[in-house]
Symmetry: C2
Subunit: 263 residues, 2 copies
Amino acid sequence: MAKAIQEVINLMIAEIPNAPLEDSVDTFKCGDPNQEVSGIVTTFTATLDVLRQAVALGANLIITHEPTFYDHRDNTDWLGDDPVYAAKRTFIEEHKLTIWRFHDYWHMHEPDGIQVGVEKVLGWENYQHTDNRYVIHIPPTTVAHVIEQLKQKLGTSTIRIIGDLDMPCQRIGMLLGSIGGDNQIKAFHLANLDVALCGETTEWQTGEYIRDAIAAGQKKALIILGHATSEEAGMQYLVDWLQPKIPEVKITFIPVGDPIQVV
Amino acid sequence: MAKAIQEVINLMIAEIPNAPLEDSVDTFKCGDPNQEVSGIVTTFTATLDVLRQAVALGANLIITHEPTFYDHRDNTDWLGDDPVYAAKRTFIEEHKLTIWRFHDYWHMHEPDGIQVGVEKVLGWENYQHTDNRYVIHIPPTTVAHVIEQLKQKLGTSTIRIIGDLDMPCQRIGMLLGSIGGDNQIKAFHLANLDVALCGETTEWQTGEYIRDAIAAGQKKALIILGHATSEEAGMQYLVDWLQPKIPEVKITFIPVGDPIQVV
């Protein structure tokens, strides 16, 4: 039976504890929720290239983890007559695309949908989870070995690190995405992390904190994966989670990868 | 004649147009401004390691560009009983060090002291400056060639880039440090930049904007140097600027380099 886009969103939100939120960035960014869904694309971020691929697949609903218009709340006033914004907006309207953000709710899922997806790809889902959902115990190893696993499983050839590659580690903070320098620092101290994995960091905050921690004789390391690399497996996992709820709609994950290359 | 630390700071601020500011992060972070200055260290960021070197040099005034306690205003309440903060604070008190931040005022200097220092190291100081002080015209070249110069002159073996290495470029935005994703995006559009050099970026903002710009057919590239690499030459230049004003005080620049390694 034909389904409206709004019905798809409703059944997703129904699975989230304490939802709906009164204030959330998980809103429609464009399009018409009353339209019948013709296909769904899930992605880390709804780039212009992802939108083109969605059109080629005949999908009219894009579920994105990150913003569409370069702003946390997708406010667009500040962009004025920016030609990049204009080109994206025109493409969206021409192809009658609806974009919905699934960020706050997916992280609020029990357990965090992004973290589940990343742990599945890493083969870490059966490691011991602590009372803090973002801290896991891996078998004792070194930072270098963790990095080797991350490169292989996440398909990235370079990783950025602050700390000693030979450092032993076991207690890992899954600080995926970009939670802010102050939150990263508090996690290191309060959760007594050996290592944190993050997407983005704030160099003048966390970077200098870890540098000082090492100078003070502490054993700490920060592994910086890049924002997309740290989270997009969670939007791939979304397909497995959502497809059984709507078997009649084709759902496709489109990876974006890291926009940054190291030269 | 002996000089108090406060006198040194006063003669620096006297050189800055529109100073003093009513609200600024350029304040004393610790110590006693009435103390006689025994020597000065300038640095990008007053790490624990820099403080140890300052003590070894007999300097009691550290002039830092970035915060001391991992927070833009150097608020410390949020750090609680953090052992890294405690170790740094103890070292500072034991050695009676005074730390003063020179951030807002150095950028307000005409021309921007950080940018002058970086341009001197790059050999770019005689290139044509536009009516926008942060935009310069370099001789027509490619992104790859700019990166080659940056690596050689700034002494860094890896650089991060979003964009096409073969792209021709001439109009360069000197967006040094970490000015925020929205400001980076506005600069690309409003100043019609080919390339921007930045310290840090916000991947989900500027990163996705540049990725979309390229997908939309625009010629844009973002070169990400790392925060310290993008600014510390400006604190080296501070020695040349300050030393003639106080020839009787020894001033030493201490480099910190990038805390992050790429593996």
